[in-house]
Symmetry: C2
């Protein structure tokens, strides 16, 4: 991996994981020496992180880490809810393309398969992760509104804020299954409202689905940063 990408990913991970505490000052020179690279990749990385809202400018004295707080995560989840809500509203407001309906049902079938039996293993969480991501991406894509995707691209760097992040308890598979099953049922409800051509219903269902990620005390399953 190239130095620029490496520094960017490393800084991102350190900030969202709290390894770099919120408010910590991040200077170009010190960071460059720390990573053993030139100041240039650090500079570009900081610019990108600034766009993502993970660092804030400190006048002329460099940047400050803006680590995610419980409040900022809740805020981002709420934003995701309304944006994905808009996506499904748009879809439900228009005639449903047969190809889309087919893909949607096929996607849901993947989820159905996961909960067909009573057994639930750790790998199923990974499988649900893939299915969940596919479901949300499908809707975002079908809306045809690229501004939604652009607006969402920042939230996805915060843990728990992206659609691909799920709050599950890895140590209690029964609880995890229950939790993810509820999310899957949300998906069905949203899909039903879409296929029935009910924009309001689809939107409010999607909003509530987003807020379901706000279960306290759960360890986040964060996708690839």
């Amino acid at each position: 991996m190239k130095p620029g990408q490496r520094v960017l990913f490393a800084l991102r991970k350190m900030i969202v994981s709290g390894e770099i505490p919120d408010g910590t000052r991040i200077a170009e020179i010190g960071t460059a020496e720390r990573f053993g690279v030139s100041r240039m990749p650090v500079r570009t990385a900081l610019r990108t992180l600034e766009q993502e809202g993970l660092v804030a400018r400190l006048g002329r004295r460099g940047y400050a880490a803006r680590g995610p707080t419980p409040t900022s995560i809740e805020d981002a989840i709420e934003v995701r809810g309304v944006l994905e809500g808009l996506a499904v509203r748009i879809i439900a407001s228009r005639p449903i393309a047969p190809a889309f309906a087919r893909k949607l049902k096929a996607c849901l079938a993947q989820g159905d398969a996961l909960f067909a039996g009573d057994d639930f293993v750790a790998d199923d969480i990974d499988r649900f992760y893939s299915y969940n991501l596919a479901f949300h991406d499908l809707l975002l894509d079908a809306s045809g509104n690229s501004a939604i995707t652009v607006a969402l691209s920042r939230n996805n760097h915060l843990p728990l804020a992206s659609a691909g992040a799920l709050a599950v308890d890895w140590d209690d598979l029964a609880s995890a299954r229950h939790h993810l099953h509820a999310a899957h049922q949300d998906h069905h409800a949203v899909a039903a409202a879409i296929l029935a051509g009910q924009p309001d219903e689809a939107e409010s269902r999607m909003r509530r689905h987003a807020r379901a990620a706000l279960i306290p005390g759960m360890m986040p399953l964060v996708g690839p940063l």
Copy 2:
């Protein structure tokens, strides 16, 4: 102004104005020579524009301009509508702080003053621009949800997509007055719903207000890029 800012603003303006047609390839070297600067400010500017969605990477052959299309502008306006709708929903869902109520009324009073008389001059459009921006900023700020601001910061670089952009006919002041007055009345309706503690009403009013920018045939009044 520093070279970096200058190049960034110039490129942004050229792309959104169509001076650089959609799809045009933008290389670092050529652009740097064109502006008489080093490649470095061009590079940072292109990275920023990429984040804003105004240019897209072309593999290793530089970037391509992604000029705004009517569709992308409509999409961005719709996104702005739901995000600002969320902001006012949040405000209306909570107890109203007296200080906020005061500021809100003071802000609206600025607008009232603009339409008190029957005369309307070109300068009044500028004044409305300031008032309009203050109104939207006040609500965004009062919501306390910084994720909304972050998500919106990209849209605001597209003409007509930002809250500070207004579609007015500079040659027909009477028409402009009518148009802006309608927007001002929208503000009153939103404010009333907020102060009355009606989240649903406030949100839907705000959404409709955003869509009011979608009047075809009007010249955009774009704020400082």
